[in-house]
Every structure is written in C-alpha cells, then in structure tokens.
C-alpha cells in the first residue's frame, strides 16, 4: 500500500527513505526522484511559484497512479509526496520513493509515477516572472512521456 501525501509543508528525503527501510532487510534497491522549482521558465527568470490543486481528486489520482505502478512492478514500498501552495526557486515540489528487490523495477516505477503524475494529477503551476504571473502551459513532451508506458 503506497504512501500518498499532498501537503504545503516541505519534506525530508532522508527521513522518507528511512521510513521505507525501517525494520526490513529484504529491499535491494531504493530509487528516489525529487522535483525542484527552477529559477527559469519559458526563457524567463522565475522569482516565485504558486501550485494549485484539486483537493480530493489529487489524492485519488495519485493513489490510482501508485496502484498501477504496484500492479506493474514488484514494489516493496512506494511513496509519493507532492506539495502545493507558495514555493520559491530551489524549493522541493515532489518526491517519489520506490523500493524493490532489484534496481530495474525501482527505476522504472519511479519514472512511470512521475510521467503519469505530470498528465493525470490535478496540479497547476503559476510562475511569477518580471512580466507578471502566468500559468505554465502543459508540455507535449509530457504527453509523449506518458504514452511510452502504454506501448511498453
């Protein structure tokens, strides 16, 4: 059963990995992905970001994505933590922790969760730039990244 958290507060990568490893010796691989707020977007400097989400649906969408990953790979643990609210460049946005007996499943599952999250979890980014604040456009590359798992 995956750990899903949607929160305004920051998270601690080390603490989350420790929680996955605690009390067990059967895990062979832990892969983590951390997404950060960049200081550039659309060719412009970004001074701040606001992350909006759809409470209720967000948690359901992340749980669904995690369940698909767990059905697809032999995972021993899977954590997905995503922040919302006011963020600054350098801040952490999202964390995925995937644990498996072998590395390939852990790498693939973490990658799959991120690709699906990008197109299926109801989050929207608004960046503050010197020209004012603007909503970030969805990227076609993200649709393509999701599609590759459907053909796989």
């Amino acid at each position: 059963m995956a750990v899903i958290r949607v929160q305004a507060e920051d998270f601690d990568l080390g603490r989350e990995v420790d929680a996955v490893r605690a009390g067990r010796t059967d895990i062979g691989a832990v892969v983590t992905f951390t997404g950060l707020v960049r200081d550039m977007g659309g060719g412009q400097p970004v001074s701040a970001m606001e992350l909006e989400h759809y409470p209720g649906m967000t948690e359901a969408a992340l749980s669904q994505i995690a369940a698909e990953a767990e059905a697809r790979w032999p995972l021993q643990a899977l954590s997905v933590i995503h922040r919302y609210g006011a963020l600054n460049p350098g801040d952490q946005i999202v964390l995925v922790v995937a644990a498996s007996p072998h590395r390939a499943a852990a790498f693939d599952a973490a990658s799959f969760v991120m690709d699906y999250l990008k197109t299926r979890a109801p989050f929207w980014k608004k960046e503050t730039t010197p020209d004012g604040a603007r909503w970030v456009d969805a990227r076609e590359e993200d649709d393509a990244a999701e599609a590759r798992w459907r053909d796989a």
Binding site: A121, P122, F123
Partner: protein, 81 residues
C-alpha cells in the same frame, strides 16, 4: 450540482466554485449553458481544446452524461510534478 473551476479558468470566471441548476444532459450541453451566461464564462470556455473536465473527481470528456453527477470540475491541462 456543484461546479468547480481551477487555475486560469477560476481566475477568468472569478469563482472557485458555484452551485448550478441545470437540466443539461451532457458536459457539452452544460458548457454551452455556462458560456452563454456572461462574457467571463464565454472567455473561459472559448477554446475547449484547452479545457479538461472531471466528473465526481474522475477525468471525463465533453460527451459524458451528467445523470447522477454531483461535482463537475473544469480546468486546463495539468502541470504538476
């Protein structure tokens, strides 16, 4: 039913959510009703290629029926992660 708007749709319409009395049978019919209300609604629904819809918190589409649906949400393509 409850209708929610997110991101630039929320800003364009000026509301995060509202209760809507409608007899619209599909999402498409509801969109037509809303867009006919006022300019701010027309602007939000002007380009439906940029609008996504969820029914009771599950992704859906314009032709989906609204029978029994309690919550409809409109929003642009997602940009999380």
């Amino acid at each position: 039913m409850k209708v929610l708007y997110f991101a630039w749709m929320r800003e364009r319409i000026g509301l995060p959510s509202e209760n809507v009395e409608t007899s619209a049978g599909t999402v498409r019919a509801l969109v037509a009703e809303l867009a006919a209300r006022e300019e701010r609604y027309a602007a939000a629904f002007a380009d439906m290629r940029a609008v996504r819809v969820a029914l009771d918190q599950k992704m859906s589409d314009l032709d989906a029926p609204l029978d029994g649906v309690r919550e409809v949400a409109f929003f642009p393509p997602m940009t999380g992660g």
